[in-house]
Symmetry: C2
Subunit: 498 residues, 2 copies
């Protein structure tokens, strides 16, 4: 798989080029950016190219006060970001502008994230995947975090959330942003809490806004904000099996109960809006009351919060701020569709961004699989972006292999949904791979797969010889029982009779 | 996890007992049989206990001519097999009898498989999983195959298909059956083909029936029979991307085209019926024309064959022979439900038994995941048994790790479907595990999971110390950001205020 690009007057559009032995060339969507990120000699302190610099300078020099893509879309202005994503997704810039205008899609793009190669999140576009990275109090350095970012992008992550909570979070975030062609999201509440020494009750809107500005200055593209965890809703979680499982949710619940007051993020949403506008940051309205187990799915607490998120979506839109809405979590198969339907209704089709959901609780160690099942289903029904889950979920901090395993499971889920939605062109890769399979072009089969090296290593485990790359069978059925080989022979014989 | 049992006057019902640290005991369905199969000193040449010997002797001594469970059900006789599965599934024997009588469930049970601990396949019961084992011309010994059987049962396989095609297939099969408490299925066509030295055109009904009787004598519980691949249907596959991908389907297609005659299995279905009755073998009507890629899903060839399988189901039922019907394969998410609906309609609710389906073709090396997504969906809609797919599918013969990975992915899919169908009691394990999670009972969380050792090893990777088994956090979020810990503290404080 080679990195390639489509160069126009304006842009270099990132693509992966896969050349097949039958002369066909296939281009796939590339999340690593237009410049290959995997040099051996990579030094994170260099940062990557600032492709948006001239775009932003132009807007600043004319005195823009709102840097949200929705603001431009509503004025009928097609931005560079819109043109860029239109080329990435093979649609017209007008279509992109309209989807952003009505709030059905967002282009997360802080004006200070100049390294960003824009992408779009919305149900009319390819389903996207987010990977969470970040250290916890237990482990990891800045260099490791930047490496995790690159690794997640290598395996197809469309956006990356930095959920660091330990030391050096400002500096870690700085280098993540300076090295990311993908949008970066954060949960500013974590850093705000560190600023008040971990005491939730000491939080207030001022320390929160200070944190928001600090992070917005660095270039964070979207913020998870738990403004929907209202004081009254906390009691709705009392009978739950696993209570509140969102960190942000539990912090805000504690604050509300301690002060016997309404959530200050909800109360001061207008002030937050001002920061979002100024930097062009998008909301990811957090679902602080999402269910943490099958038993708690689709309950009153969850849907009460969702109604409030719908209300906040409209408030954000009044100021032309882009919004996506976070969703669960843990949901059994038969309750998944209701989540999408309600979110779409209550939030006027603002993009839905769900964590899985896991469709059972009984498989810790395999939650990339339990959740990929739910993720495929929910994306088919309209979720625009999936937050991945790694095999370590509920058990520990993921390592590189876990990040890769989580990403691949989610690329599968996202692609399965694209196929089911009939997304134009989505099936081409399946068809090319299946054709290569039928024609025993093993090398092409490997090249077209999500993980070429692994596919080849599995094949070579039993048949490593070079000649076997052209063999009309594999060790699964052996030479005499390969149905594809039998079909091919049959077709040849039939052809020769005609 | 301890092996345990529920002993009644008549039976020892296999169960796994999981004792939790809070005093609760949970019993789970056990596929390994009532006697633990994992002695270090296991010798396959001993075979396991023949628990059905007295049941079958009674029927033989009274001169029964039809040993099918449907035959007994239709006469209103509740057999030992029905009582056994009723206890396994926590339903009444009358309910079991009725489901078998109307053909909506089957109890695969050859009268010569005396070691069988009966199980039931039907949409009103727990979703079942089948594992394929068997050597190919490339590899493996009898001992290895018996070990694969035990390994598949260890991870929850409900039935096992022996798809051996190499040398010693008679003897390999013998020892598999003599050591299996689970039903064994085969595709007799493979051995019949070996008997005519691999020349499909030399097959005929006599060599086929001879093979059928040989295998039925050994005790095979269900046969995959490709009687629905009609001569006329072969041309419907001509434009397909991957043609015919069932081995049995491609063999029968070749035979039909060569002789320009109708499929001899279809033509002589009555004679096959006679063998099935005599031994009490169940049909697994093979889907020889199942789609092998997304592009070929739900096409004319597939559904033409399905209509014929519906016709054959009724023919089998005329002789009181039990039937399940095989299904695909490769199907995108949005076309899955149609498969179940049509099969149910055309085959009068005879149990559906599907291979996956894979919901995309682009992830060789991860097809246990691509297919677990489809499997969960199709089982939720009513598929009674899922044939697992391993990570090596399309690439090579699976090893032990692949068998385990495939099985776990499919136990997840089956359980997710049980939850979504609201199967009584299915959610208990999820609830217990989630409660243990919320209460930081790590040992219980591991014990209740599908793979306790793996879950614990993932946890211990970063926090191996004994004290961490009671810690109110893990390395994923660290001590200060565990939402469950925060919720617990909140609940305590609220309680103390009241």
């Amino acid at each position: 798989m080679n990195q390639t690009s489509q160069t126009t007057e304006e842009f270099i559009i990132p693509k992966n080029e896969i050349r097949l032995t039958d002369g066909t060339t296939f281009h796939s969507y590339r999340t690593e950016g237009s410049l290959c990120m995997h040099h051996e000699e990579f030094d994170y302190k260099q940062g990557i190219a600032k492709i948006r610099k001239p775009w932003i300078e132009k807007r600043e020099s004319r005195g823009d006060k709102n840097f949200s893509q929705m603001y431009y879309a509503r004025r009928g202005e097609i931005t560079e970001e819109m043109r860029f994503v239109a080329m990435r997704e093979n649609v017209s810039p007008e279509f992109v502008m309209n989807e952003v205008k009505i709030g059905r899609a967002i282009i997360p793009s802080n004006k200070n994230h100049l390294e960003l190669e824009p992408m779009i999140i919305g149900k009319k576009f390819l389903v996207k995947v987010n990977a969470n990275i970040g250290n916890s109090a237990i482990s990891s350095s800045i260099e490791e975090e930047v490496e995790k970012l690159r690794w997640a992008l290598r395996w197809g992550s469309d956006t990356v959330m930095d959920l660091s909570t330990g030391k050096n979070i400002h500096e870690t975030r700085e280098w993540i942003i300076r090295n990311s062609p993908a949008p970066i999201g954060t949960v500013p509440l974590y850093q705000a809490l560190e600023k008040v020494k971990g005491k939730a009750e000491n939080l207030n809107i001022d320390v929160y806004l200070e944190t928001l500005i600090e992070q917005a200055e660095q270039g964070v593209d979207y913020f998870t904000i738990h403004a929907g965890v209202l004081h009254d809703y906390v009691r709705l979680t009392e009978k739950r099996v696993t209570g509140i499982v969102s960190r942000g949710g539990s912090i805000m619940a504690r604050w509300c109960l301690h002060h016997k007051k309404e959530n200050f993020l909800y109360e001061h949403f207008d002030r937050i809006n001002e920061v979002m506008k100024k930097y062009g940051v998008s909301y990811s309205l957090g679902d602080g009351l999402r269910p943490g187990c099958i038993a708690d799915a689709n309950d009153e607490a969850q849907f009460a919060e969702l109604r409030t998120l719908g209300e906040l979506t409209k408030k954000a839109w009044e100021e032309d701020v882009q919004v996506m809405v976070e969703g669960p979590g843990h949901v059994p198969l038969h309750l998944i569709e209701e989540n999408v339907r309600l979110q779409s209704e209550l939030c006027n089709e603002a993009p839905f961004y769900t964590l899985g959901p896991l469709v059972t609780d009984i498989a810790p160690g395999y939650d990339h699989i339990t959740s990929a099942i739910g993720a495929a289903m929910i994306a088919w029904h309209g979720t625009a972006m999936l937050c991945y889950v790694t095999p370590k979920e509920h058990l520990g901090l993921p390592n590189k292999q876990d990040v890769k395993d989580g990403m691949i499971a989610y690329k599968i889920a996202a692609h399965a949904a694209d196929l089911a939605k009939g997304h134009p062109g989505a099936q081409e890769r399946d068809n090319l791979l299946s054709k290569a399979r039928f024609e025993f072009r093993w090398e092409d089969q490997f090249a077209l797969s999500l993980d070429p090296e692994l596919a080849q290593s599995y094949h070579d485990e039993t048949l490593p010889q070079d000649g076997m790359k052209k063999a009309h069978f594999c060790s699964m059925c052996g030479p005499h029982f390969c149905s594809m080989h039998l079909t091919q022979e049959l077709r040849k014989e039939e052809a020769s009779r005609k």
